[in-house]
């Protein structure tokens, strides 16, 4: 809200014009609450040919944006995680169960976030964390699934990310998910739309460069769901994919589609070695 008000006022516009794009401190380290050490740069995983070092999107953001994520009382995204924590013990569905009935405290699932998307043997499908939450709801609780990237689902993902912060992203890419990984990789390197741009054109070949006033990151998703100052709410990775593809003047895929599940698995795996960082704060 603070940023929005600033940007709307003419004074801020003049200040921005004079200062040019806000510089990022790309060498900064992220420690949350003086306690949780976050790996924001790491050696690229062997399966990523186009990068030597992987960087969290956090390092590309301006000092003020970086600072918002260093203290949970400053991080607006934590309010949404807290909302989900309140629902954690709420009994729902025909089985009359809450999340807590099976899982105890949310902290017991600290190892989950960093490994998703992953194969679910019982369902014989690749599941994103969002799909797994809905799997719990429909299969265990007898409750209705939440809509993909809806506020309720993003809040729960924010909670599950918050308890996993500092743990490594470690998404499997072989075995039963191999075909999904390959599909995601193919999409990542395909040039879309009338602007004829691939994910790689911006986020592999040009990270660190500006496109007009936008400072391009590597498009890592270890910080999702992410609170964007731009829209003042939580954003899911697939909704962000949709926005990027739309901006190439292309016909996008639907959030929750096979293609975006594959792209999420592939892009998440490009961050293997970074820390889980969500819910993060970005522009």
């Amino acid at each position: 809200m603070y940023m929005k008000t600033l940007i709307k006022s003419g004074v801020a516009v003049i200040a921005l014009l004079a200062a040019g794009p806000v510089a990022a401190d790309e060498d900064a380290d992220l420690i949350i609450n003086d306690e949780i050490e976050i790996t924001v740069r790491a050696e690229a995983p062997a399966h990523v040919d186009g990068l030597r070092t992987i960087y969290s999107g956090w390092v590309f953001r301006a000092d003020e944006t970086q600072a918002l994520q260093m203290d949970d009382f400053e991080n607006p995204a934590m309010l949404f995680a807290d909302e989900a924590r309140e629902k954690w013990t709420r009994v729902e569905g025909s089985a009359e169960k809450s999340c807590a009935d099976c899982h105890g405290e949310p902290e017991s699932l600290a190892d989950a976030r960093g490994t998703y998307p992953k194969w679910n043997d019982q369902a014989q499908e690749v599941r994103t964390l969002a799909m797994q939450v809905n799997g719990c709801r429909t299969e265990q609780m007898g409750a209705e699934a939440w809509k993909y990237d809806s506020a309720e689902l993003l809040n729960m993902e924010a909670l599950l990310s918050s308890v996993a912060r500092g743990n490594p992203v470690n998404v499997a890419i072989d075995g039963p998910v191999a075909a999904t990984f390959e599909l995601g990789k193919e999409i990542y390197y395909s040039r879309f739309g009338q602007l004829d741009l691939s994910c790689a054109n911006c986020h592999e070949e040009n990270y660190g460069n500006n496109i007009r006033a936008d400072h391009l990151s590597q498009g890592q998703i270890n910080g999702f769901p992410t609170y964007r100052l731009k829209n003042a709410r939580l954003n899911g990775a697939q909704t962000r994919f949709r926005g990027c593809i739309r901006d190439t003047r292309a016909e996008t895929y639907a959030v929750g589609s096979e293609e975006f599940i594959a792209l999420e698995l592939y892009v998440a795996s490009r961050g293997n070695g970074l820390s889980v960082e969500g819910p993060s704060v970005r522009n």
Partner: protein, 157 residues
């Protein structure tokens, strides 16, 4: 130009311009991607070209390129090379070829083709995310390309 366009003779003039226009699918590229023939048959206007370079909904060349002469407009990109002095490095035909479809000059370049209407993967209806309504329009018109080329030809060191 403006005065002519508002005059009564406008319909006659635009008919002439339309017949002289080279359509995107009829462009002839040289060996190195250059395009010799004017797309519109009407000389480019560098003042209009400058505005098109800056406008986000038009050329938006500044999204990727730095231009010292356009410093009064904020936020120049870093994805493509600086355009300072391009008129000394390229001929008119070469500049036209790069703006029309830079991939004919630089294979695999990130730069979008501004006068091309086919051969895209999942083309969309502008920035809606929905499927395109065929036929596609080029990103810029023939005259807009000529205006931008005319502006680029003013950028000499």
């Amino acid at each position: 130009m403006k005065r002519i366009l508002t005059a009564g003779a406008v319909s006659f003039l635009s008919t002439v311009a339309a017949t002289a226009e080279v359509l995107p699918e009829d462009i002839v590229f040289g060996e190195y991607g250059e395009v010799e023939v004017s797309l519109s048959g009407v000389a480019g206007d560098p003042v209009s070209g400058e505005a098109l370079m800056v406008a986000r909904g038009k050329g938006n060349c500044l999204a990727c390129h730095q231009v010292t002469a356009l410093e009064q407009h904020p936020f120049h990109g870093e994805v493509g090379p600086s355009l300072d002095g391009v008129a000394d490095r390229w001929s008119e035909a070469e500049l036209r070829g790069i703006v029309v479809n830079a991939k004919m000059t630089y294979e695999g370049t990130v730069m979008p083709a501004f006068y091309k209407v086919s051969g895209f993967y999942r083309p969309g209806d502008a920035y809606t995310g929905k499927a395109a309504v065929m036929p596609l329009s080029p990103l810029l018109t023939a005259q807009e390309i000529e205006d931008i080329v005319a502006y680029l030809l003013t950028l000499s060191d």
